[in-house]
Amino acid sequence: MKKYACKVLVGGKASGEPLVSTKPFTFAHGVNPETGLVTDVRSDIKGKNIKGKILVYRYGKGSTTASAWFLETARLGNCPAGIIIATLDNGTVVGSLLSGINYGLKIPVVLCTENEFYERAALASKITISEKGEVELA
């Protein structure tokens, strides 16, 4: 079991199966809020479902509406359990904060800058995020 100390962007704890994308990711026109399926034709996880997973990606992209798409996905119960990113992604941070304020949901978002983590995450069967931003791979 390997642990990584990450920066908490939105607090909370979560655990689940990892879903790792190496391409830029966005909720805006990229996830179907009604199903949780990734629809972006340029994504390497197109067709995969984000619901309940620990979503791992390095870079965000796209429109300032990403937080609205995130919020709708959260309202319909199809959001990931937690999210790990390598660079700040405002859409995801604000989307998670809005989900907390409007629907009482806690979807932690942490920033992990260690390259090695992203290589190992793809091979892990479970990822756990703690309140303090400690990320554990199993």
Binding site: V41, S63, S67, A68, W69, E72, N90, V93, I101
Partner: protein
Amino acid sequence: MYLTKEQERILSGEEGEARADAMELLVKFGDAVGADSLVPVSSAHVLAHYSSLHESGIEFYERLASLGAKFSVYTTVDPASIDLERWEEFGIDKEYASKQMRLREAFVKMGGTECWSCAQYQVCNFPKMGENLSWAESNSVVFANSLLGCRTNKITFGLDVASAILGLTPRYGMLLDENRTASVNFRISFEPRNELDYRSIGYYIGKNSRGRVPALTGLPSNVTSDDLKHLGAAAAASGPVTMIHYIGFTPGSRTLEEATKNEKVETIDITESEVREVEEELNQTEEKPQLVAFGVPHLSTNEIALLAKLIEGRKLKEGIKLYVYTSKLTYDMVTRYSMKQVIEASGARLTHSTDAEISPLSDMGFEVVMTNSAKLAEIVSSEGEIKIRYRPLRTIIEEVTIA
């Protein structure tokens, strides 16, 4: 993040639930991005279109409006998902329209100014140099930072409304001097032939700036503010660009040395071949279009006048629709001066307060869309449902109309 006594009071709920929620969002976001404080903005530009906001966006707006929230600074709004007056004529169904109208009502209730435009800086929102803004529309963010001498980050939905309510924004990113210095130089090494070349240049910058702040050298002195509007829009659509130092035009960047603060930076040449590559990438088909779309971002009076001149006396071919997207103010003006009548005599339609990239284009039955907008081309093609033909204005008019 440092909060003033007054900001602490708002956060603790002393000015009501809506302002407390707005403050909570600004503070938590500010902490996440490492902002040191909240600073006043002189205006806000927010998103309120149903196609992106969905049901939860309506709930978000209506909850704040019903709690009595009011915008505390001048607030304009990005285009709606439908023509707010003539939506039925454009084949929009009643239920869809009613969702957009609920967003409109909540926006108005909070004191927003109904200037639904993505080129608000050309019609209804005129900051002065040096002001901090909270603008949520990527092309207008580039325009404000690059040409108006203002400072704004690209504000995400939710944060935009919270900022408008409180008149504050977290101090980070493009509000800080150190993040505004040019760190890569794109050099135009050919003579742009038409408006499309400027848009393709913008698209190329977006794809190749990789998070750096670009400078652009070699712009001819006759480049227009409309050209730069579309260039910036294309750059912001294809990459994480929020400012371009247009050397010779951007306030404080008369020379490359000024823009880079005398640091040596990489130079990337843009020749005719780079621009042709962009055209090939964005032009996905040679099929006949069902829709020709002009105005992503919204056309100015100038651009509509040029279109009227080109299309006067010509008729749109059978089976093709041509929509011209603009703001209500511009629409009223070009109606008053008969440009609208000239354009519509060809069979084309002017539509206002909405825009192509946030309209339900596939529900409206369009599969092939022809445009000279690199921004529209980029956004629409990522969903894979609509194919784009990307061509310059004059070529399009010649192809889709007859004398």
